[in-house]
Symmetry: C2
Subunit: 343 residues, 2 copies
DNA sequence: TAAGGCAGCCAAAGCGCTTTGGCTATGATT
DNA sequence: AATCATAGCCAAAGCGCTTTGGCTGCCTTA
């Protein structure tokens, strides 16, 4: 069923039917009602393609998920982020186009999206420091919004980020207050902007306590369970092992716990662990009482909000970019305790 | 840059330029080369919408991810499955449209996709027993392929599934051979087809050993870490606790391990655990030696393959549906051992 | 009573492509 | 020399919508 057929069936012109369905005022109430009912009855929905051609809007948002060819890892935050964004799109009549793409091809993908006009805007995931995509999208004139920020990009753009630095400074300080003096950091990949900020927070807290950080206690890589396990194990094997570890993701933290227990140590007593918790739906940090003490910020909420912000950029392209900095809360769970006394 | 501009610049008709770029024979080699170079130079790419309108193809595949309103959980298998499918689409010039959708609205979404012609076909995720979607899509005439199967749907359709029943029968038998006689089952939601088949395998193995299964040892719910933990904890608290547990997902298995250790027991000695491993990229089951003994089948491979199958359905709609049944391998890790002797 | 305003409808153009049905040379065939 | 393929190009229609620019008839207003 298309517009033509529907209008013929109703004995009206395509113009009138179109206007009736799209809420234009030049249609009598009676006609509008008749049209709407007929549309529903014959299950009519306008072709997205034709509508897009006519209006120049795609009513579609692109999400480009980078998968490093080296690691081949799909960051688990995307699932929940996208679920959040999707809610916003559904409410606003937008659809979501997903490209999972090798780092190297990313530029081509964005250029393609622009020239084929397949999307009205894109969400940039996983910004790196000095991320090239921001300049590119800005040059292309393709509306975008960034989940995170890119240190070193000085052009203004729309972003939503969590206060990574402050969260990790607070978490580190919390451990320092508990008396810990050797604190490990298991972080995401060096080049990721969030990892850079988190490390800065970790270092700042140490500095304010007049304590030097030890490169031996700082690791960064793709945040898998295995990475959490191996780096914790290696740290614990050192001559002067840490009494606490800060971990950038719950998944890593599961690995860290495994290492701690394998060493015959007790988490929260012999070794304290603080994690960041993105609040994945399938990986709650305990129910009533959190398992891990954690800095917490829901990535799903972030998705909802950032999608909303992008739609605003699209609706109002000349407005100055808006930015949102979310605060992570620090929830205290069972994985931390006072630093053990040296006997 | 659009076709009209490009053809004017070249002094050719739109027809010729279009044919040159799409590989039709009615164009001289010299002209074709000239057109291709000009297209590349001016970064021309045809508008997907216009092309779609003209050809009737969307060059887009829809993925509808159901999120139960009750649980609000994004199944972590989707991330890797989609990454796999995406590789296939990229190779074939297709794009991926994602809808994350409340169970209740699913029918509307499929009808919408059909009538708006926004996709050429869809992948059905997470089939339930007697899944209504299969009949619906079949009626709508929207090409589809199912990741899994739906017991009770007798119309033929294209699917790719893992041999759930056999995998769990083998895993259970492995534990029985090790002398375990009380084996717990922590399974996915009852209504999911895969859960039904896995339970059947579990039961069949018991039966072939002449052992009755105990309802007290069988749980099923959304497969979160917390669910794995809580059900294991409850089982271990029973008067006659299991000496082994089979778990439907690594994420659940992490929870199960937590419960085992919290009970002061050792995994692989006091309690054996076998899991299913979907080979998530961020959650490897150990490196050299697997942590968990597990039935293993890569969901990413499944995505690659099923996408290929769907494209075939689209290209050749009248061909009889093809089906693929993957065998899961059983990898032996450190989480299983002989049943402890009763003293 | 004539002029003007407006509510309510319509025909047709246009969005950027593909594709049908030509047309015109050129070279081969008889 | 006349006929016929054929290679190589083009104009125009059509895909399903929106939107511009009317047109008609009724109701106000002076």
């Amino acid at each position: 069923m298309n517009l033509k057929e529907l209008s013929q069936k109703l004995g009206l012109s395509q113009t009138t039917v179109s206007r009736a369905l799209n809420g234009y005022p030049e249609v009598s109430a009676a006609t509008r009602k008749r049209v709407q009912e007929a549309a529903k009855a014959s299950n009519y929905r306008p072709s997205t393609r034709a509508k897009g051609l006519a209006t120049g809007k795609a009513l579609t948002i692109g999400h480009v998920i980078p998968v490093s060819s080296k690691h081949e890892i799909v960051n688990p935050v995307f699932g929940d982020f996208i679920a959040g964004a999707s809610e916003t799109y559904a409410r606003n009549g937008y659809e979501m186009l997903l490209s999972i793409v090798d780092d190297a091809q990313e530029e081509q993908i964005y250029r393609g999206m622009k020239s084929r006009q397949s999307v009205d805007g894109v969400i940039v995931h996983g910004p790196k420091m000095n991320d090239l995509r921001i300049g590119l999208l800005s040059d292309l004139g393709l509306p975008f919004a960034v989940h995170g920020r890119a240190s070193g990009c000085d052009i203004p753009y729309t972003w939503l980020d969590m206060n990574n630095r402050q969260a990790f400074e607070r978490a580190t300080r919390y451990l320092l207050e508990l008396g810990h003096r050797r604190i490990g950091l298991i972080n995401g990949l060096e080049e990721m902007d969030f990892a850079y900020r988190r490390r800065n927070g970790y270092i700042a807290a140490h500095r304010s306590y007049g304590i030097a950080t030890d490169p031996q206690l700082m690791r960064s890589d793709e945040m898998t369970e295995a990475f959490g396990y191996e780096s914790s194990r290696d740290m614990l094997r050192q001559a002067n092992p840490p009494t606490a570890i800060i971990v950038s993701s719950l998944i890593c933290a599961l690995g860290a716990r495994r290492a701690v227990e394998e060493h015959g140590l007790t988490m929260g007593k012999d070794v304290s662990i603080v994690s960041h918790d993105d609040v994945f739906s399938y990986l709650q940090n305990g129910n009533a009482t959190p398992i891990f003490t954690a800095t917490r910020s829901s990535v799903r909420d972030a998705g909802r909000q950032l999608a909303e912000m992008l739609l605003n950029v699209i609706r109002n392209p000349t407005a100055p970019p808006r930015t949102v900095l979310l605060d992570a809360e620090l929830v205290i769970g069972g994985s931390t305790g006072p630093a053990p006394r040296k006997d």
